[in-house]
Symmetry: C2
Subunit: 205 residues, 2 copies
Amino acid sequence: MSNRGKRQAATVAQSDREFVLAAAASLFRDQGFDRTTVKEIAQACDMLPGSLHYRYPSKESLLVDLMRLALEQASSAVSRAIAGVDDPIEQLRRGINAHLDLLVDGSDMVYVLLFEWRSLRGQTRKEMIELRDRYEELWAAMLQSLATQGVIRQDVDIHLLRLIGLGGLNWVATWFDKSGPYSLEDVGNFVWRLIRDAVITEPGR
Amino acid sequence: MSNRGKRQAATVAQSDREFVLAAAASLFRDQGFDRTTVKEIAQACDMLPGSLHYRYPSKESLLVDLMRLALEQASSAVSRAIAGVDDPIEQLRRGINAHLDLLVDGSDMVYVLLFEWRSLRGQTRKEMIELRDRYEELWAAMLQSLATQGVIRQDVDIHLLRLIGLGGLNWVATWFDKSGPYSLEDVGNFVWRLIRDAVITEPGR
DNA sequence: GTCTATACTCTGATAGAC
DNA sequence: GTCTATCAGAGTATAGAC
């Protein structure tokens, strides 16, 4: 692990963590959490199972840490995408495309966060759902802001709009095909246009 | 198994099949396919693992059969919901609510069909995706009919509309809470209104 | 068709040397 | 921190009696 250059200790540890989690995420996305063995994860990191155990006491604890990192990735990616954009409707478009890009193309971890929550049980699952909710709050805030500015029609339930909108986007990860007829941006823009045409208070566009 | 009344042989066999699959579907929905053991499935059917094996040579083959039945359930439920309805927009509303009701409340099998495809690999997964596609064709036909009748705006890609719409609906199963602020019909009607307002050629509604 | 009993495999986790 | 070696448990599937 430490043969990937020497930086400050904390940074190396951080990059090691990300390296392990990225390898695990790729496997989890491909095979699912349950059908992926700790042996495979270790192999993908050029380690042996015993060494992996030094970092994570259990397979589940690794998944939880992975999801934590995924949330950070998603939050910062969307925040970055909308930063500095004034037009609220353009902000929405960029947010949608950022979410989609990250989920389908950018980060296996975000995919795992959204699709592998069923592998956790009890308290751990609760924690993870809280993580997911925290990410969705970012969207809730964005939509709330649009509503406050009067951009979204008053009679639209922005809570449901967020749930349904993100659902439609998340599901894209189950069917999207790079070699298919649509680009990822086609899909994102379609969703954006759908929402725009349905709830925005400017029909004369 | 056969202590549930005697009807015609074929009917009994059929009802046995459905009984076993329903029990398995409930477990799969709750725990996931991988974390459910054949022992548990057998127990839920008042059998022992060996007996279950008489019906299905492997756990995977049971899942495949389950998905096959799920497709039939979904197709016939939606067909029934829209049968005899003339107004195409009302047809859409009923179809949406039927899909939602079946997925969230009605049939564990449909849930499993939609969420447990990742448990299958290789050829089996392909077959199952074909099943899912066949169900979606029902929706494709409905939307195509709306487009042909001129109810849907010409510039709307009905292929994407179907994928995004069903995605939004499917995802509901991951967050819907019976004791939450929305009824299932609230959610279905919201999606319907969203689509109606975005793509239907009668803004003066 | 269902039961009993079991074979065989794999897995997550551990212990302890280096 | 990483390695070697290994354990205890669980899981699917099978064989064969009834």
